[in-house]
Symmetry: C2
Subunit: 328 residues, 2 copies
C-alpha cells in the first residue's frame, strides 16, 4: 500500500506503535513537544544529522531497514564521540507519496531497533511529503560534565588511537558501485556499528584528552581535532588497523592499500588522543569490550597539519581536503 | 556569490559567526554534539518541525529572512504550547547549490534573530546540498515539571480560550496567492509571532488544564486536545476573535466570515482550556501582557467532537478533516 493511501495520520499511528516510553521520558510522541527528565550533575548532549537520497545514500544500494539503522547509527556515533550515553531521539522525514508504506515502516523499524540496542526510544519528529527521501535524525544524550570529551583537548606528546578498523566502509561503497552486494565491507558501509559503549567507557575512565568519530575519513576528522586543539599529528601508515576482508579486497580497487583507510569516510570508528602513559589502561578497555583499539601515531607541536610516516620512515605532509557538499 | 562557490565550510564559518554562546550552553556549534547544562527541578522539552519548499512555503511569496523567522517561530510556538521557556536550537538545511550565499545568510539571520528575542542561541545542526530547500529546526526548552501543560488535561466544564485573533494567516496566504503582497494578514502569514511569553505565564500561573498551539487550524488542533482528553467541545461562533483587518478583507474571499478562523492553519496562537472559575485571572494576564485572550466556548461530555454554536444558537457538529500531507 502506498503512503498516499494510508495517509499522514495512518503513518503517525504506525510509528507511534513502534515507540516505547523509555526511562526519563515523561511524554514521548503525541504532544507539542517531548518532555524528558534531566539527570542532576549531568550535561545534556544533542546532535543532528541529515541524510538525503542521492547525496548521502542511494536506494539502489541500501534497503530501508538498513538505512534506518544507519540513520540512527551515525547520530549515536556523535553522542559516543562526546563520551555520552544516548537517552532519546527524534526523526523528521520527507517522503515521496508513492513510497510503499511497508518501506517507511521498515525504515522506522531500523531506526528504532538500532536505538533500542542502547535503551533509547523515539520521542518525536515530523513527517511531510517530499520529492526525494530525506531523513533528519536528532539524538539526545547525557554525560557527567567532567567526563565529557571534546575535540579541543589534544596535547603535544599525546598518543593517537582508533577503535576497530579503517577504510572498510569506503571500500564497501566502491564494491557496491561495482555491483558487489555482499561481504564485510559492504555490510560495514550499509550498517555501521556506532561505538557507543566504547565512547562511554573511554570518557568514564578519563582515558582521552580529545575524541571525534570518523565520518569524513581519518585525515579530515583528525584535522578537526588538530584545529580545535592547535596541534599537529604524525600518523604511522603501517600501524593503521586494516581488517582481513579489507586487505583481501582492496587490491582489486586501489594500488595504494592505505588510501581508503586514511581518507575514506563513514567508518564511524572513534578517534581519540590520550596522554603517553595510558596505553595499558586502553589495552585493558579493549580487552574488556572485545573491540580492537590501536595506537596509530602521536600529537606533535602546533601546526594543525597531519604528517604521514611511511613504512620506510619517510615523512610526507597531507593536504587537507574534506568533502564539501556544495562544491562539485 | 553562489553557495557552490563559498562551499560548505565557508557557510559553516558564516553561520558560526551568527551564533553566540548563550546561558546554559557549555559547547555550541563546532563539536560532535552540543553540550547544554540542565536546570535542576526542570524537565526538558524538545520539538522539531520540517519546512519544505513547495510543501510548507513558496519562495514566490516569502523572502529568506522572513522564512528564517517563521522556521524558528513555529518551533518556538510548540515550546510555548507546553508552557516552556526555550533554551537552544539546532538547524539542518538542505540547499540547492545554486542558491545565493546571501540568501542562506538571510535565512540564518532570520532564525537567529527570532530566537534571540527569547534569549536563545543556535547550538548545532547540519547542512547539505539538496534539490529543493528543506529546513529542519529543533528547539529545546525547559519548564518546571508541575507546570508543564499537555493536551490531555481538559475536563468537562472547562472554558476554552484562545490568544490573539484567528484566521489572519490563512487569509494572508489567500491574499498572497491573489498577488496581494502587503497588509496585516500577509504579515501574519509570513512572520507569525510565537506566544512564548503567554504560554510561559499561563503555565507558571497554573491557569490551563490543557494547551496546544494552532498550526493546523482551530478545529483540528482543538480536536487533538479533545482526543487526548477524551472530551467534547462547543465553540461559539460569534465569540471567535477576528482582527479588524480580517473583518475588512475576508468578504472579498469567502461568503462565510468564520471559515478561515475555524479551519485556516498557521495562526500559531495558543488554544487552552481552564476551569470555570479562572476567567478573572486570565483577564489579568491578558491585560499585563497586552495580548487579547478570548473565551470561545466550553468543554462538554466525552465525544471527541466539536460542536459549533451559531449566532442564532443553532448547533451543528463538525466533521474532523485535518490536512494530510500524503493525500491529495
Amino acid at each position: 500500500m502506498k503512503l498516499s493511501e494510508i495517509g499522514e495520520f495512518g503513518l503517525i499511528k504506525a510509528i507511534s506503535a513502534t515507540t516505547g516510553k523509555g526511562k526519563g521520558v515523561v511524554m514521548g510522541v503525541g504532544d507539542d513537544a517531548a518532555v524528558l527528565t534531566s539527570s542532576p550533575d549531568k550535561v545534556f548532549l544533542i546532535t543532528t544529522d541529515l541524510l538525503l537520497e542521492g547525496v548521502h545514500f542511494s536506494l539502489e544500494f541500501t534497503d530501508y531497514h538498513s538505512l534506518g539503522r544507519k540513520a540512527a547509527g551515525v547520530n549515536l556515533s556523535d553522542i559516543a564521540a562526546c563520551g555520552g550515553k544516548p537517552t532519546a531521539f527524534l526523526v523528521s522525514l520527507a517522503i515521496p507519496p508513492e513510497t510503499d508504506a511497508a518501506s517507511v515502516k521498515a525504515l522506522y523499524k531500523g531506526m528504532v531497533e538500532q536505538a533500542r540496542t542502547y535503551g533509547v526510544s523515539l520521542v518525536g519528529g515530523d513527517t511531510s511529503r517530499g520529492e526525494t527521501l530525506m531523513i533528519s535524525v536528532t539524538f539526545i544524550g547525557e554525560v557527567e560534565e567532567r567526563n565529557c570529551v571534546y575535540r579541543h583537548g589534544a596535547q603535544e606528546g599525546d598518543r593517537i588511537f582508533v577503535t576497530g578498523t579503517l577504510g572498510d566502509s569506503a571500500l564497501g561503497l566502491k564494491m557496491l558501485k561495482k555491483g558487489v552486494k555482499e561481504g564485510d565491507p559492504v555490510r560495514r558501509h550499509l550498517d555501521p556499528t556506532p561505538r557507543v559503549r566504547e565512547g562511554g567507557e573511554i570518557a568514564r575512565r578519563g582515558l582521552a584528552t580529545a575524541m571525534i568519530d570518523i565520518s569524513d575519513g581519518l585525515i579530515a576528522d583528525l584535522g578537526h581535532i588538530l584545529e580545535a586543539s592547535g596541534v599537529g599529528a604524525e600518523i604511522h601508515l603501517p600501524k593503521l588497523p586494516l581488517s582481513a576482508s579489507y586487505r583481501k579486497h582492496i587490491n582489486a580497487y586501489y594500488k595504494n592499500p592505505y588510501l581508503l583507510a586514511l581518507a575514506g569516510g563513514e567508518d564511524y570508528e572513534l578517534l581519540f588522543t590520550a596522554p603517553e602513559g595510558r596505553p595499558e589502561a586502553i589495552k585493558k578497555l579493549a580487552d574488556e569490550l572485545g573491540t580492537p583499539i590501536t595506537m596509530i601515531g602521536e600529537i606533535v607541536e602546533a601546526s594543525s597539519e597531519v604528517t604521514i610516516v611511511g613504512p620506510d620512515g619517510r615523512k610526507f605532509p597531507v593536504e587537507q581536503r574534506g568533502h564539501d557538499h556544495f562544491k562539485t
